[in-house]
Symmetry: C2
Subunit: 229 residues, 2 copies
């Protein structure tokens, strides 16, 4: 959409709603993951696989962000996981206020982990915090090795980068080594998970790491709550 002088106000308002969400997530002990990517990178596929890997141990919920249609929420609901669709109309990212409205319709008190699948866009979603615990970026290796240089903000903001569709690497002419190097240039620290949702390769690494983040944070919350902090 449009870059305008009132941006500071918009960002301040977004932060306010994000803080409110965060408070609710902590109060109900919901661990929240914001999934961002360009269109077609495979966020929903990664989410399906991640749900399979976690559903035995956690009560999961999903908020889907899209311009129109409930295709993604339908895919998640088909797995028997509660899914709420936010349709943004023409807005190319989720804002904290939209998530705020959604969680009040959703019943987050019955969840352990909430996934928020953002609108497919490599630019704007990275600018809007939602109150989440974790920002994850899914990138399709087929999109080329140079994109971290061209869209640095999302690669920089991500706390883990999932490089999807590695089964297509032999046919796409993209070098995983070069891509990884370019991710590292804008984000030296985040773990990088090369995966294929088609073959399953690499997914256990990602899901194992995510499990550790969830249980670590939930443990810290319990501790803080026990000492009254």
């Amino acid at each position: 959409m449009h870059m305008i002088p009132v941006e500071t106000d918009i960002m301040a308002a977004n932060q306010h709603w994000a803080d409110d969400n965060r408070e609710a997530f902590i109060r109900h002990d919901v661990y929240t993951v914001n999934l961002m990517s360009a269109p077609g990178a495979g966020k929903t596929s990664v989410l399906e696989k991640t749900i399979e890997g976690l559903r035995e141990d956690y009560r999961l919920g999903v908020i889907e962000g899209d311009l129109v249609t409930t295709i993604d929420a339908d895919r998640i609901a088909a797995l028997g996981v509660p899914a709420y669709q936010i349709t943004t109309g023409t807005i190319c990212h989720l804002e904290a206020r939209m998530v705020h409205n959604a969680i009040h319709k959703f019943g987050i008190e019955d969840l352990d982990v909430l996934f928020i699948e953002n609108v497919g866009n490599l630019v704007c979603p990275a600018e809007f915090v939602l109150g989440e615990d974790l920002k994850i970026m899914v990138y399709s290796t087929v999109e080329g090795a140079e994109k971290p240089k061209k869209y640095p903000l999302m690669f920089h903001e991500a706390e883990a980068v999932i490089l999807n569709k590695i089964d297509l690497l032999p046919y796409s002419g993209v070098s995983l080594e070069e891509l990884t190097r370019n991710v590292r240039e804008v984000n030296p620290y985040a773990p990088i998970f090369p995966v294929s949702c088609r073959t399953g390769e690499g997914l256990p690494n990602w899901i194992g790491w995510l499990r550790a983040q969830i249980s670590g944070e939930k443990g810290r919350r319990k501790l803080r709550s026990a000492v009254g902090a």
Copy 2:
């Protein structure tokens, strides 16, 4: 970016600059093509192939839109074609005013055909006219068959849809038939060109069609100018 009440003013201002660009393009008889797509769909690759196909007959120029970096402009300049890079910072689309500034630095009077490669984004570029003759959308078939439903505006606005990376279809599990059907649902009329920039398949169809558009419009302009219209 941000959906805000002053949108109408922004769109009106954009239309004003677009009209101004259009007037300049017609005055100098420059045929202008606006290339839009998600990040990594292959706009620059399609452009390189299209340049190869047209450069014997037309004087070409390219305006590149990106958030940061001159990677794409450098690729075009390497072909010996004049290229001007617009870096938008955080703005996720080109606006007519940016193109207006660029064409005045560029010397469009020496061009027959100008390509404008928009910022990689499947949402916002479709909302901003630039004064172009033709809006083209490049879509990577690897991104999935359902995207025309989820991002209908750009598919709807495009006057031709290039379905790129068809060499990866056998490995990606995406059905070209289903994708084509979904494009047709939001855009019944635009020609659809399945192509592969890696193998060259389909590119002659696209380039042949584009040639016909260019010579047709240039013919009409000559006629109008001859009758003083």
